[in-house]
Subunit: 457 residues, 2 copies
Amino acid sequence: MRLVVVGGDAAGMTAASLVNRRRDDAEIVVIERGPYTSYSMCGIPYYVAGAIDEPEELVSRSPDEFRDTGMTVHMRTEAMAIDAQARTVAVCDLDRGVERTESYDALLCATGAHPMVPDLPGLAAHGYVVHTLDEGEQLRRALERRDDVRTVAIVGAGYIGLEIAEALIERGNAVHLIDRSPHVMRTLDEDMAQRLEEILTDFGVQLHLGEDLQEIRHDERRCRQVVTDAGCYEADAVVLAMGGKPNVGLAEAAGCAVGESGALVVDERMRTTVPGIWAAGDVVESVDLVADRRINVQLGTHANKQGKVAGIDIAAQPDDGDATFPGLVGTAVTRLCRWDVARTGLTEREATDAGIAYAAVSFTGTAVAGYMPDPGTVHVKMLAERDTGRVLGAQLLGTGNVAKRIDVAAVWCQLGVAVQDAQFLDLSYAPPFGGVWDLLLVAARKLTTELDLSPQL
Amino acid sequence: MRLVVVGGDAAGMTAASLVNRRRDDAEIVVIERGPYTSYSMCGIPYYVAGAIDEPEELVSRSPDEFRDTGMTVHMRTEAMAIDAQARTVAVCDLDRGVERTESYDALLCATGAHPMVPDLPGLAAHGYVVHTLDEGEQLRRALERRDDVRTVAIVGAGYIGLEIAEALIERGNAVHLIDRSPHVMRTLDEDMAQRLEEILTDFGVQLHLGEDLQEIRHDERRCRQVVTDAGCYEADAVVLAMGGKPNVGLAEAAGCAVGESGALVVDERMRTTVPGIWAAGDVVESVDLVADRRINVQLGTHANKQGKVAGIDIAAQPDDGDATFPGLVGTAVTRLCRWDVARTGLTEREATDAGIAYAAVSFTGTAVAGYMPDPGTVHVKMLAERDTGRVLGAQLLGTGNVAKRIDVAAVWCQLGVAVQDAQFLDLSYAPPFGGVWDLLLVAARKLTTELDLSPQL
């Protein structure tokens, strides 16, 4: 059985390793465009910040380590076209410019996503992106090499943009953060985003929200100014963090269906609509289990699980593998300017878009018991479905290492737990970790009352 | 409707406040033996440590604050006997020595527990206990007043004993910690307890485990030596932290059934076996939802929930209230010597005692992504039922503020989630909070393989 894996990061290498372990007869060929395999994309901002010294520290397994397990790994090689009938893929050695053909019994498309770069003069030449580790290296080298980089404009106020903004402020740069949305972090509701904007501003980030990037003014060497529809800002460098677009081109050209989310359609076993082709990771869409819609979420944790599921199915061919990826609930966390930001499930906007009637509660509590030294601050928000009480989503913004607390709400979202039941769960309590009523239990209790469900404790 | 609440701490005052809000016709009389209402017992070690200055900081609501809501609150007053037929309770004003009778329509027995003190010469006179806030005050005053208290012996290596041990070491005392069990923290499995013993020893606690207290040698003023069946230790003070025994006497004399756990039997609405008498808090037994047995767990978080349920049922009389307390799974956390200790569900010993066939996995991970600075250490243990994969329990011992992560496993235990399903849950991931596979997901994955369940990712 010959498996060709296109894309050597989380999803691809997880599947490749699993098939390699499960099938003695597997011949595995990995095609990777870049210079690294299996690294932590989420770690790039910390590498740019200098908290991590060398890019290799983000690599969990190198090409040679994979080769040692018996796989063939072609680095700096790009898959150009799939012939799904002939089950072949044309690949190109990027350094030597040589094309050749690889045959496959199974092909896994784990091509990930590419950063969105608007078609504006100067951007392609003078904008940095930080989507891959080598791009992160270029940015860090530029910051270290060029002492004249004082002010950096970042375009895009999502996770990566904000994490890079913090990293640059900590490096001593001035930062303009530009986004066309009226608020940072579109994955949060406005009220939570506004609090985060205050935190960012206090930290020194200059926010320019609701502004549309229009032009990069530059000389031969570098960026000089960034122009939006509302202002013109001096900037010695510009970083684009406008999100990623799934790399569907290769699979789409081979006939694989692309969903409304813009990502590849796959079934629960990570099969595309074309026989012999699987897909996993940032390139696919997944079921959002709360809203029952299909969305594209680019996150390593899903890529890993999906890679395993794809690997199990590929290894089990022609029988069905026994693993299915059930979907996700949009859990995401980060730490910004010493505040933890966490979300799961639906925001108010998303619930409205999904046509789900809901109630929301918000309140502010402490990270540890209120009488302890430095009790911290945690802003809590939770949504539940109006008729049933089913937990729809939660958001946390707090000091005191509280991000992982969102996991409890994530489990509630994924299992369909209702607030009136959730309020009785035996969550932990001790003064160094909170008040006698856990913050999520308080939210569940408030929602039970708000929705006039029973029992109202 | 006249409600008499015996015991003015978490369970009692929660119920009293709830009835007071729900019933305009309620006449509420609270009988409290001590000088404080509604305080955090769990905060006492932090007060003894000096992290909290004044005992009043642990009080969430004073007697006068309750009186302002219209209740009658009798402090330093003890309930002596209940006449369940006549629906009266004899109470005694402890300062004036005056007895009188209070009539009731409903009586809530929220009498809590008392510290176990073995019947050994000198102990009653020279041992400190820290079960109530005023007892905590006595210990702290003794430590502050008496400069000659250098070495303290603590008897009992459970949560309170260990928290006090840490507090005293931080105050500069030498500490002998004595327990008849071969390991600290009987709520953990041996392997986890052993790691904790190393941590305590490194912190400076002198452990004397598997030793039975036999004698306190003292002079007129204070303790001089503590003698066990294995040694004799110089000690200027002795603190007893041997656990609490439910104060069932009052209710038992009135005919209320006491269960095998030694605590009062109550139904889901917190009714005792005697009409007109409810009970809640440390004095009752609860259903352990994992082992389906009844246990007595003394923890403020249960007392609060049970107080609410009792209050709802009392307020709804003669109709049933709509709230039921479903039971608990034994979740408990603390922080000791900068390590978080967390557990939920059953240990191996408890699973064996309950006759449940199980598998257990243990491994050591990091609190944040391994490539981040100071990734920390987390020892993880999880148990699942052999045939079904149902999560039975989990234990965590780690640096990096990881205690609240046990809540996810607590939800799994309470809802009966199986490891093969748990491994697909959308738990949060970002480098400051862990690796791409959450530690509990790793545990679920390992157990799925160990139990030969499907799918094995």
